[in-house]
């Protein structure tokens, strides 16, 4: 397996060709008539995307979804990092909470939706709660893991110099856990968007997920698919951007590892 260095231009051409082949296959599938007639063709989806990009409803829905996702993600990140650092650095808490955290992590939060809707109603607040409940676990688990790994020399130094707890927290614990925290925070960003859309699909909360079901109920399949695909693109860009940020922020860590 030697890494052949293809020219970036040629690779781009190949990638575009691959996407074209995929779209071609889709068209063929539609043309063959074996698929249900609701499934829109490639041209319809593209004109749907065009229509979506020029409609204010679409942008309003998308920004609502992004804002709720962002709010839930921020809350989850703050709570997750705080609790994670505390739990991870105290052995007793670490062992006591492990089953509870395992349980929470494997809990499909969207199943809890009807309960949350009963308690909070079908609104943005409910959506933020569900999003942050889902985003909390990756951050918490990663932070705990990061806080656990304390190098013996560092721990000794801290003890010998009697570093105050608050300073230790800020200057020792946080930096050493940071690479793990970053991974958790990044993963939960993708989760935030996915869950926000999911919440809107099931509940009546406004946003892009709601628009997708509305379009589908109105038999506008082209628009529904256009929204879905565009949301996927947004999520993809978000993931790529966050990866870049993480790589840049933690460049010291990477160098250290090499």
């Amino acid at each position: 397996m030697k890494e052949t260095t293809t020219a970036p231009g040629w690779l781009l051409v190949q990638r575009v060709a691959a996407i074209a082949i995929l779209l071609g296959l889709w068209s063929l599938l539609i043309a063959s008539g074996t698929m249900p007639s609701m499934l829109p063709g490639v041209i319809q989806i593209f004109s749907g995307i065009g229509e979506a990009l020029t409609s204010s409803i679409f942008w309003a829905a998308l920004s609502r979804t992004l804002l709720t996702a962002l709010a839930g993600w921020a809350i989850a990140s703050i709570i997750g990092v705080l609790f994670g650092l505390i739990i991870g650095s105290i052995k007793f808490l670490d062992r006591s909470t492990s089953i509870l955290i395992d349980f929470g992590r494997s809990f499909p939060v969207l199943a809890l939706m009807p309960v949350v809707i009963m308690l909070l109603g079908s609104n943005a607040r409910m959506e933020i709660v569900v999003v942050s409940l889902s985003c909390l676990w990756p951050v918490l688990v990663q932070t705990i893991y990061g806080a656990r790994r304390q190098e013996a020399a560092v721990a000794d130094t801290v003890a010998v110099f009697k570093i105050p707890a608050l300073l230790r927290f800020r200057r020792v614990l946080l930096p050493s856990a940071l690479p793990f925290v970053a991974t958790g925070v990044r993963i939960s960003a993708s989760i935030a968007l996915l869950v926000a859309v999911g919440v809107e699909v099931i509940s009546q909360a406004p946003g892009i997920g709601r628009q997708i079901t509305l379009m589908q109920q109105a038999q506008r399949w082209d628009l529904a698919f256009a929204y879905l695909i565009f949301t996927g693109l947004v999520g993809w860009c978000l993931a790529v951007a966050l990866q870049q940020v993480e790589n840049r922020l933690l460049i010291w860590k990477r160098q250290e590892n090499d």
């Binding site: 691959a18 249900p36 349980f103 969207l110 809707i117 705990i144 968007l193 699909v201």
Partner: protein
């Protein structure tokens, strides 16, 4: 990007492995691990006992309802329906993900070309697929399994690719030097070496599958656990709604526990070699 899921998954694996096993007795460590659960449950029991809020039933009421519906078979029938969908979906996802992952892992040029496509599909919101697939293909069991399979396939695929890329170059050269036949090379060299990563990918896919399972039944179904929860809440049977949600959580936890046990057996050689 490719390593997102695998990093999380493998680190989770290490988290579990790294738990210190000190010399104290089994009883004490069991106590230490479980006391908080007991406290939470007891607190919930007593705090909710005199609840006057219609939407917050007492834990006693929730558990009685759960017991009643478990006994009269309402939930069991739903659970069987749901779990069948989940397992068939996961099976399809694992088969496709592993086969494609092995192929893409070996064929570097193809992987580089389709890489953006894979990451795009992974970013499509799984829950939003539910209305589309069910709307187009109908309410039956097949479309639900298909949705679960589609959502679960990508983490397995990405992790398999990572696993294949992580195969020791020396081992690869050996296989080449001895002209190990292609199929044997896949089955006996690449697959076992990538197995820890593949298993980690399936573990990431598991909660995704459970979520999609519930959502697909909440969206359009007259059967299953998701339907039980949604139907209860729509008819204002509040304790049933809580009971259903709680049960799905417990099922999710039990499945992931069983999976970890199965993983330990399957990868015993791997963990053994790691601890040396």
């Amino acid at each position: 990007m490719t390593s997102t899921t695998s990093i999380l998954a493998t680190r989770r694996g290490t988290v579990r492995k790294a738990r210190p096993r000190s010399g104290d007795s089994f009883g004490r460590s069991l106590l230490r691990a479980t006391w908080l659960i007991v406290v939470v449950l007891v607190a919930w029991w007593f705090l909710s006992a005199n609840s006057t809020n219609f939407f917050i039933p007492s834990l006693e009421q929730i558990l009685t309802t759960l017991g009643r519906d478990l006994a009269n078979g309402v939930i069991v029938a739903g659970a069987i329906y749901s779990l069948t969908n989940l397992f068939v979906g996961l099976l399809i996802a694992a088969a496709l993900g592993i086969i494609l992952g092995l192929l893409l892992g070996e064929l570097g040029w193809l992987r580089r070309i389709v890489d953006p496509i894979i990451h795009f599909f992974r970013s499509v919101p799984q829950a939003a697929l539910v209305p589309m697939i069910i709307g187009v293909f109908g309410m039956g069991q097949g479309p639900k399994m298909g949705t679960i399979a589609f959502a679960c396939m990508w983490p397995i695929l990405l992790n398999t690719i990572d696993g294949v890329l992580g195969v020791e170059p020396t081992i690869r050269k050996f296989s080449k030097v001895y002209r190990i036949p292609r199929s044997l090379h896949f089955r006996k060299v690449v697959l076992p070496a990538a197995l820890p990563q593949i298993v980690a990918g399936i573990r990431v896919a598991l909660p995704i599958g459970i979520t999609v399972m519930v959502v697909s039944e909440m969206f359009a179904s007259i059967e299953g656990l998701g339907f039980y929860i949604l139907n209860s809440s729509a008819t204002f049977k509040v304790p049933e709604t809580w009971a259903g949600a709680l049960l799905v959580g417990v099922i999710g936890y039990v499945i992931s526990l069983l999976f970890v046990l199965a993983e330990r057996r399957l990868l015993r050689w791997y963990h053994a070699s790691g601890s040396q």
